[in-house]
């Protein structure tokens, strides 16, 4: 009897509900697609790396809330997540450093024209895009990792 009660309590703690799980499973692809759209379309509409990254990260947070932590970590392991975060920060600083290496100022994207001749003005546009992708990756990874660590007190087993 006591065992049953405990099992019910843990199930309630994890928050398993068919309605929430189905809704989240249907929503997550669209949220992620919208996050990518916001990152890529930052040149033409409100948005950019930070906003799109938060949307991508929130999709993992939603999965973590509806299912438990283990399901999310099976889809997106901690190692991959941290790798994405490092890659994002590296893309931003790396693009800036490349500009300095190829004879311009730090973060002066028009200097990258030496690498691929697109024209200096077009390179400034493309450089902004590269940088936004980096910001998006870093923000996505950090948002998800913050929620995982704070929600499970660093144990990575159950989540909220």
């Amino acid at each position: 009897m006591r065992q049953l009660q405990q099992r019910v309590e843990t199930q309630q703690q994890v928050g398993e509900s068919l309605i929430t799980q189905t809704a989240v499973r249907l929503l997550v692809p669209f949220v992620q697609l919208f996050g990518l759209y916001v990152i890529v379309h930052g040149h033409y509409s409100p948005g950019g790396g930070f906003q799109g990254g938060v949307l991508l990260g929130s999709s993992f947070i939603m999965l973590g809330l509806a299912y438990d932590q283990k399901t999310v970590l099976r889809l997106m392991s901690e190692r991959t997540n941290i790798l994405f975060g490092n890659l994002g920060a590296l893309i931003f600083t790396g693009v800036g450093a490349l500009c300095a290496i190829f004879g311009g100022l730090f973060l002066d994207y028009s200097a990258l024209d030496v690498l691929i001749p697109l024209g200096p003005i077009e390179w400034r546009s493309f450089g902004i895009f590269l940088v936004e992708v980096g910001v998006g990756l870093a923000v996505m990874s950090i948002m998800a990792s913050l929620f995982w660590d704070l929600g499970s007190a660093g144990q990575m087993d159950e989540g909220l």
Binding site: P46, G48, G134, V139, I142, D149
Partner: protein, 97 residues
């Protein structure tokens, strides 16, 4: 130690607040930012960057340093939370939360 941290925070905050006293008044048309800088961005951003969204042009290109260190701040926050909170269970399996 806590009192020292509070003192450091208060002193830093007071210095920052003191620094804001030199700022131009809110909406001052003679302020340097309102004079040449904003008009330069508005008039030349599309010619100089080919980005129709002015906010993105300023954020990603003209103020690239700012955005870079914003990313670094977020990155630092994430790594600090991981290093403070994350516990690997292999080290002592008997530990309960």
């Amino acid at each position: 130690m806590k009192a020292l941290a509070l003192l450091a925070t208060l002193v830093t905050g007071a210095i920052l607040l003191y620094g804001t006293m030199d700022f131009p008044a809110w909406g001052d048309p003679q302020a340097p930012a309102a004079g040449r800088l904003s008009t330069h961005y508005i008039e030349n951003a599309i010619d100089e960057t080919h980005v129709p969204n002015l906010v993105t042009a300023v954020l990603g290109d003209y103020r690239g340093y700012d955005t870079m260190f914003e990313t670094v701040v977020i990155y630092c926050a994430g790594t600090v939370v991981i290093s403070v909170l994350r516990r690997t269970r292999k080290e002592n399996p008997e530990q309960d939360s």
